[in-house]
């Protein structure tokens, strides 16, 4: 019971902070790039921020589900998915989409480091919770088998 609430709330808070980082805590670069036709498009980091909002939302939902579901196996599955979502959150700014080319741009200076640190915490916490639940499940099975 205690683990259910604790793990769910921690995951949900981490997800919420990931969601809020590109929105208001450390926003991505706001300036636009001028295209040859005279129009303007957002920079790459803007789209990385958008993707991270989705990642944060998924982790937040995972946290809520961890509180709702009582079954150890379901919570184990949710924790594993949250850990993998955390990995996705790390890959978005580094490999999958990326950001600006200069280290001193707001996205490279604050947004991405904050997101990477938070996603590392999600991966570490969710993996730890998954291992804990897996051991719990093993104990329950041993008890039922006699």
């Amino acid at each position: 019971m205690k683990n259910r609430f604790f793990s769910g709330i921690v995951a949900a808070v981490l997800g919420l902070v990931i969601l809020l980082v590109p929105l208001c805590i450390f926003p991505t670069c706001t300036k636009m790039i001028e295209t040859a036709s005279g129009g303007t498009v957002p920079m790459k980091c803007f789209w990385s921020g958008r993707a991270e909002i989705g990642v944060g939302l998924l982790i937040l939902c995972g946290g809520v589900l961890l509180v709702i579901f009582k079954s150890t196996l379901i919570r184990l599955g949710i924790s594993m998915m949250a850990a993998l979502t955390g990995v996705l959150g790390i890959l978005v700014p580094i490999v999958l989409i990326g950001g600006c080319k200069m280290d001193t741009m707001p996205c490279r200076m604050t947004t991405f480091p904050a997101l990477i640190v938070l996603c590392v915490l999600v991966v570490a916490f969710s993996s730890g919770n998954a291992i804990y639940l897996w051991r719990q499940n093993k104990k329950i099975q041993e008890k039922t088998n006699g």
Binding site: M102, D103, M109, I116
Partner: protein, 403 residues
């Protein structure tokens, strides 16, 4: 049923789990100290490193700038803040004629409005490759030719490699080299020869009037190296006396560096004082908490003794509990500091506004090891006295004490 053997470690873990809030509080206290010590030391070492690098690589003894722009040249050099200030290019030759001056090299600063790599202003620095003794010694890959028209060298924080092309004011430039990490403003600057810089100024005219586009005979500063045997102050005074009327002012780099190192010393002292205060606080709080809780647990220890536990088992138990608290706190504090100091290093550098260069892995490892040791010692040191005192109690006295 838990079938774990009653080893000292297992018993200590169980005792710590019995009071989760007290244990968490003590771990937090130790982690706060470890965080401050490790994070603060890495921060001060990075600033020290940046300062050493700056003084080692600052090739000029004197900088000649237009009157009133002494602070701007420091911002441009230290933080790469885009600056635009100009005086007549003829000053270069005039300064060269002053007694005691060995080499001179002009530089021209142009701030971009936006660039292909980034939509933020960037400092473009034009220099004379033939006379330059400031920029070229910092190149990561040596150039086999003097920097030509249309070619640029980028600072280390600009993510472009040799062979790539960058666009400024709709003109494409070829990146031919990249500078080493300097920890100062040069990391975010782009370098080109003077004629290319003039071209960029003309290109920028379509967006905003630029003084260099109107008059090509302008430069921003002159880097000056003095002859051996001359006093830098005397040469600077000579330049001032001769050309102050032409709005020339001088910045002596040694004075600039000593100002920065003065600030740095103050900051480092604050960090170490804070770490020292936190260490004393951590040891004192642990001392009080252990004294209170261990006094309250005398009966428990009496039962252990009655059940056959030798005196040294009790001493080990108490020391093990405090060591575990210290261990968890120290690891948590160092990991938390690492998660702040390393990923956010550029942000910290921009907040501090001083040359910032992270130390080598070996130095970081040594700092981590020292922080670990100092932080870890807090727990066992605080509990050692009580551990020995409890170990020396007579069973009968201890058991009857609370009756």
């Amino acid at each position: 049923m838990d079938n774990k053997p009653l080893t000292t470690v297992n018993l200590s873990v169980k005792n710590l789990k019995r009071n989760p809030f007290r244990t968490a509080g003590l771990i937090f206290l130790v982690s706060l100290f470890a965080f401050t010590l490790f994070g603060g030391t890495v921060l001060s070492k990075s600033l020290e490193n940046g300062m050493n690098n700056l003084s080692k690589r600052m090739g000029a003894d004197i900088l000649a700038v237009p009157y009133g722009y002494e602070a701007d040249i420091q911002s441009a050099l230290l933080r790469g803040e885009p600056s635009t200030f100009y005086f007549d290019a003829g000053i270069t030759e005039k300064v060269k004629g002053v007694e005691g001056v060995k080499d001179v090299s002009p530089q021209l600063y142009i701030a971009t409005l936006n660039a292909g790599c980034c939509a933020y202003p960037l400092q473009l620095i034009g220099f004379e490759p033939k006379t330059d003794f400031i920029i070229q010694p910092w190149l990561t890959n040596s150039l086999d030719h003097l920097l030509g028209d249309g070619e640029i060298v980028v600072g280390n924080s600009i993510n472009a490699e040799a062979g790539q092309k960058l666009k400024f004011f709709d003109r494409t430039f070829l990146v031919v080299a990249r500078l080493d990490k300097t920890g100062m403003g040069f990391d975010t600057s782009v370098f080109m020869n003077l004629s290319t810089a003039n071209q960029v100024a003309r290109d920028s005219e379509r967006l905003k009037a630029h003084p260099v586009a109107e008059n090509e005979n302008l430069i921003s500063s002159v880097m000056i190296k003095i002859e051996n045997g001359y006093d830098v102050k005397d040469v600077a005074n000579n330049i001032l006396q001769a050309y102050a009327k032409e709005s020339v002012h001088v910045v002596v780099t040694k004075n600039m560096l000593s100002d920065i190192s003065g600030n740095l010393r103050g900051l480092t002292a604050y960090i170490y004082i804070l770490a020292g205060v936190l260490w004393v606080l951590a040891v004192s709080v642990l001392l009080v908490v252990f004294s209170v809780t261990l006094n309250g647990r005398k009966r428990e220890f009496g039962i252990f003794r009655t059940l056959g536990a030798p005196r040294n088992k009790l001493v080990k138990l108490i020391l093990c509990e405090s060591s575990l608290i210290s261990l968890f706190g120290t690891v948590a504090g160092i990991v938390a500091a690492a998660l702040v100091v390393f990923p956010f290093s550029t942000y910290i550098a921009s907040l501090v506004g001083l040359p910032y260069l992270q130390p080598s892995y070996a130095t970081v490892f040594v700092v981590a090891a020292m922080s670990f040791l100092l932080s870890f010692l807090a727990g066992p040191l605080a509990s050692a006295y009580f551990a020995i005192k409890i170990g020396g109690f007579e069973i009968y006295t201890v058991m009857r004490e609370n009756e």
